[in-house]
Amino acid sequence: MAAHKLGMKIKANLHLLPTVGPVSIWILLFIFAPVAVIVCISFLASGQAGEILPKFSIENYRHLLFGGSEYGSAVLRSIFYAFVTNMVCLCVGFPMAYWISKYGGKFKALFLFLVIVPSWSCYIVRIYALKQLVGYPGILNNFLLNLGFISSPINILYTPAAVVLGLIYIWLPFMVLPIYASIEGINPALLEASLDLGATPRWQFLTVTLPLTKGGIFGGTILTFIPALGDWLVPLLIGGNRVWMAGNLIEHFLVVRGKIAMASSMAVILTAAVVLLIYMFIKLGGEESMERIV
């Protein structure tokens, strides 16, 4: 329907064709169509070997949601990991953004740059770097053992804690940026006014600065919670097939086991959770949280 309407509009407004035309068509063909296909397939029955049968069925959903499937607990686990990740990122990311904005001086751009640069490098390389440092055999363990701080190696790899640490490591920079933009956007007159009216610095922070950065906080939450929820590489590389998140199950059913219909239903359920959460964050954080994402 959207496609049809868009087509008519393009005819009516010829100047739109060369400008928004290519991207619209591209998005329609290579984003919306694949998603629509997945949604359709998720309502088809699967055969014995996992092949798709051309028959409507909600069996996949019944199995995933009420059939005691491991997927339900994987989704809940993913949400929990994403929540912890998000909270830690907020507790570290907010002070970082605040510090850069307040004490950064003329080096603000440099400090921000130092936050962003690692996130531009390869995801796999970053996970590997963390694994190499905290794992066993690992550099940190080796160092501590040699100095005699610990008597036996601490191995945190393949545990939920390691997966959450990995998620925090990957997504922390995405919390700092929107909050920084939000803090920079505060009208200084408001801060002065609150001091003139007798607020202590702490009170000023709690009643003026924090509420005014709500948009940035929820923007950052969307940028860390959502990707952490859908992550599958961190659990794969750091959790070593022992700690699975929802994304791992989707990949496993789709690529390894070839159960496309089941994997599609899983994807639809996870997407529904993501859309619901984004809606909630935008409702809580207001329009500004949308603007801070991009």
Partner: protein
């Protein structure tokens, strides 16, 4: 006293954050000069892993593949993204809000889902061969939105009366675009390219799903090296290159910005 405490905690948390972000990378970089092959223990300084890197044809090929894919993606995505940004900014049309929101979709839905959907779509419905065509198409869908939003951000700040003046002085649409609009947008066009190129070069998830057999890009090659634990120290050397590449790109942008300020 309270203020000092607050400030101290703030500084402490900031330092912790920076250490956490940079620590693993710095250690990895340092250990890429370590002569021990399975090294968690420091032995002696060496450059042999970097020399090895250039003598491993599989790595060179993977780098070339990644460069090819990233270049094509950057050109296409930047062009259509910039055009769309212009259309979204300039024209009020029915469905404008919907289009803006739907461009956000590929960025917000988890990569593993979008990539899986593309795999099913390419193999079952559209019959697009896996490998280069599939990877490049997928990369463009994910990175064109970046270009749209980077350009939209710039368009809110530039002086559009220059474009009107050009039309008033009798230039046609095409000339106005070529002589006025594109030069005005050049910084954001450049910024989008600088964002998109490393994104495409570094992408693992999307490429992993639609690469098929044989199109091993550098991140895919790294992944297989990690999975089978082949020469871990070589990975350290590659990693350092991964970190240095974006820094060089950003420095390029800064020098470019500096120059454009001087000429203005």
């Amino acid at each position: 006293m309270k203020l000092l405490n607050g400030r101290r905690i703030n500084t402490l948390l900031t330092i912790t954050g920076y250490l956490f972000i940079w620590g693993p990378i710095i250690v990895l970089g340092v250990f890429s000069f370590n002569s021990s092959a399975y090294g968690v223990k420091w032995e002696s300084l060496t450059l042999k892993w970097y020399v090895d890197l250039f003598h491993t044809p599989a790595i060179i090929k993977a780098v070339l593949r990644s460069l090819l894919i990233a270049s094509v993606t950057t050109v296409f995505a930047t062009v259509i993204g910039t055009l769309a940004g212009y259309g979204l900014y300039k024209y009020k049309f029915y469905g404008r809000r919907v289009l803006r929101m739907s461009i956000l979709l590929p960025i917000t839905v988890p990569y593993v889902i979008m990539a899986g959907a593309l795999l099913v779509y390419f193999t079952r419905i559209a019959h697009i061969p896996l490998g280069y065509p599939a990877i490049i198409i997928a990369h463009i869908s994910f990175s064109a939105p970046l270009a749209v939003f980077v350009n939209l951000g710039r368009m809110q700040r530039i002086n559009w009366s220059l474009e009107e003046a050009s039309v008033d002085l009798g230039a046609n649409t095409f000339t106005t675009w070529r002589k006025v609009t594109i030069p005005l947008l050049l910084p954001s066009i450049f910024a989008s390219a600088v964002l998109i190129f490393p994104w495409s070069f570094n992408d693992f998830t999307v490429t992993y799903f639609v690469a098929g057999v044989g199109t091993t890009t550098l991140p895919l090659y790294l992944f297989s090296m990690l999975e089978y634990s082949l020469k871990p120290v070589l990975i350290n050397a590659i990693s350092l290159i991964f970190i240095i590449l974006p820094i060089i790109l950003v420095l390029l942008v800064y020098s470019y910005k500096g120059k454009s300020k001087q000429t203005a």
